[in-house]
Amino acid sequence: MKTAAQTVLPEKSRVEKSRVQDVVLSVRDLAVDIRTYRGTVRAVNGVGFEARAGETLALLGESGCGKSMTAKALAGIMDPVCDLAGGEIILNGTDLAALTPKERLKFAGPELGIVFQDALAALNPVYTVGTQLAEAFRIHEGLSAKDAKMQAIDLMKRVGIPEPESRVNSYPHQFSGGMRQRILIAMAVALNPRLLIADEPTTALDVTVQAQIMQLLRKLREEGQMAVVLITHDLAVVAEEADSVAVMYAGNVVESGPVSQVFSDPRHPYTKGLLESVPVHLERGAHLKSIAGSPPDLHDIPTGCVYQSRCPLVQEICRAERPRLLPVNEHAADARTSVDDDAGSALSANNDSDARPPLPGRVAACHFSKELNNV
């Protein structure tokens, strides 16, 4: 009975929670180039978002959309073939993009922690987990080996690893997948960073373990009032864990805003298509609305809208001009009547003259975000 205990989590209502508004991370116009044999490609193109203390921001997208590259750029751990081509990464008032790699090292740990997808690859197989956990305390706080090890044991307790006193001397391969992920999370939060980047932290895990890890991340976020940037391709994880979401496609953010709003009222055809691809509330075996085609090759991004080749609403203007991320207004359905008055005005003036107040924090990059209900 004692070993078989289980908990039922009453989830905190996100509305109730006191909204701490201080922005920890602000990314603007981030661009990353990758040099390949076939030429330079822009993997991340003008990406911008904000992460607030005590909240989770999800970067959502399919493989190859640039979400992991964004995470690596934030943490300053890009591969040698990648270049930061522009933009600002402002963490607590400091622009990380302007720093030298050496200066950046000071931020890795105390200010910014990162959790990777594959815990076995991220941990060093030839050192005990205790040594790896203690490293942060030895480097940044100058603790002795003995004190650092005590800290490591405390840390293992904090992330829920049983019998930390004996397990501190074990090697990564002696742990299960879920426990390894816990160790990785412990390393990331060791020095109580303001910002935690979690790059697909549960993709390799089973659902019951995934629920445990997500519960742990939530707990640590509340305790440390961290801002969490959660990178994932799983819409359901975003719906359950995140406060706000930025949807990425082919290196661009195409829509962002509070999760509840974006998912209940998507204003970009890609977001809408993704949501409709998930088989929920459907007759079994019913036809799923899938998105035709596949994402564009980064070598061959079209001028104009990045989503044009798969979009059901595509028009001439989409091929000619790339839509900017613009605020979206309340109720697209009501706004449509004013658009109908002079057809075509929607093409040029997105919503400048619209009387409706823009929704706070909601932006979408689509020429036709108002007409999306018709799709």
Binding site: M1, A4, D206, A236, A239, V278, V280
Partner: protein
């Protein structure tokens, strides 16, 4: 239910391993699996990694020989077949693999990959003209162009590669296709395309699917019936709606509760988070296998393995669960949470 095409009864498979922490050298991957698959039906098989899903799939493909138990396919035991009869049986059960990047030979063209089975089963399409025609048909069926036959796998995207894998499985006109996580390596937008394709093919050809997946949302969408595995046993099985809406086994309830849901209404739900991880199959718990993680476990759970209990679903279909204390009166998870809270206070 339709006439069972495939019937599995008490299937056991033990592997011998060199050394384990507990000193046990016998790993019981399958421990008394009983299942039926009807003609044209989709059976969903769910469970965590290491629960024996893949061993079961391999056994059904005759890649493993079971230690005990029987497999009956249209009245015959395939493990008793030899020679030509065995060959003709193998034609009828085919498989689609999880990773479309690893399961296609990069040195062969798409056409060669799809037509390779005909080189073994020569009598199926004896003339090259027939094979060419069939190839075009298959490619069209899975949504590729006939001209794609000359391309090599690298020239295709993940979704298209999985279509080639499906065409290869269909090449021998099988009765059963085992789909081992067929969409989990694919992006969401492409996943929906492949699920639609699989659905269309089943409607058209009347083929049965055994659909192995860890994604409960997908299983709920495709499966007629579902079987939940835990440490080598099927702990609950029944009609998909029945099992998903009224899970009887605590593990099933926990699994459903743990799986994230896309609920745009933003309704909050209570969640059962299981403690601990899957015990090692080398050293399974005595009695009920789930007792180490179960919140309803009592002394009897450690002593005796629970028998299968039948609870009739509304439409009279079988709903089986192996538990001493099946979740009885509850309807859905809110009830499960309430029961748990009550147990906790009582304890």
């Amino acid at each position: 239910m339709s006439e069972p095409l495939l019937q599995i009864d008490g299937l056991c498979k033990t592997f011998h391993v060199a050394k384990s922490a507990s000193g046990n050298t016998r790993l019981k991957a399958l421990d008394g699996i009983s299942l039926t698959v009807g003609r044209g039906e989709t059976l969903g098989l769910v469970g965590e990694s290491g629960c024996g899903k893949s061993t079961l799939a391999r056994t059904l493909m005759m890649l493993e020989t079971p230690d005990e138990g029987t497999v009956t396919f249209e009245g015959t035991n395939p493990f008793g077949l030899r020679g030509k009869e065995l060959m003709s049986w193998r034609r009828r059960v085919q498989m689609v693999f999880q990773d479309p990047f690893a399961s296609l030979n990069a040195r062969m063209s798409a056409g060669d990959i799809i037509s390779e089975p005909w080189a073994t089963h020569r009598s199926l399409y004896p003339s090259s003209r027939e094979r060419q025609a069939r190839m075009g048909e298959l490619l069209q069926m899975v949504g590729l162009r006939p001209s794609d036959a000359r391309k090599s796998p690298q020239e295709f995207s993940g979704g298209q590669r999985q279509r080639i894998g499906i065409a290869r499985a269909l090449a021998l006109n099988p009765d059963v296709i085992i789909l081992d996580e067929p969409v989990s390596a694919l992006d969401l937008s492409v996943q929906a395309q492949v699920l639609n394709l699989l659905n269309d093919l089943q409607q058209e050809l009347g083929v049965s699917y055994i659909f192995i997946s860890h994604d409960l949302t997908v299983v709920r969408h495709v499966a007629d019936r579902v079987a939940v595995m835990y440490l080598g046993r099927i702990i609950e099985t029944g009609d998909t709606e029945e099992v998903f809406d009224h899970p009887r086994h605590p593990y099933t309830a926990a699994l459903m509760s743990a799986s994230p849901k896309l609920d745009v209404t933003g309704a909050k739900r209570d969640r059962i988070v299981l403690k601990g991880e899957l015990p090692s199959p080398l050293d399974p718990p005595s009695g009920c296998r789930f007792r180490t993680r179960c919140w309803k476990a009592k002394d009897i759970c450690a002593e005796a393995a629970p028998h299968r209990r039948v609870t009739a679903a509304a439409d009279g279909a079988l709903h089986l669960a192996e538990c001493h204390f099946p979740l009885e009166t509850i309807r859905g998870l809110a009830g499960a949470a309430a029961t748990t809270a009550a147990t906790a206070t009582a304890g």
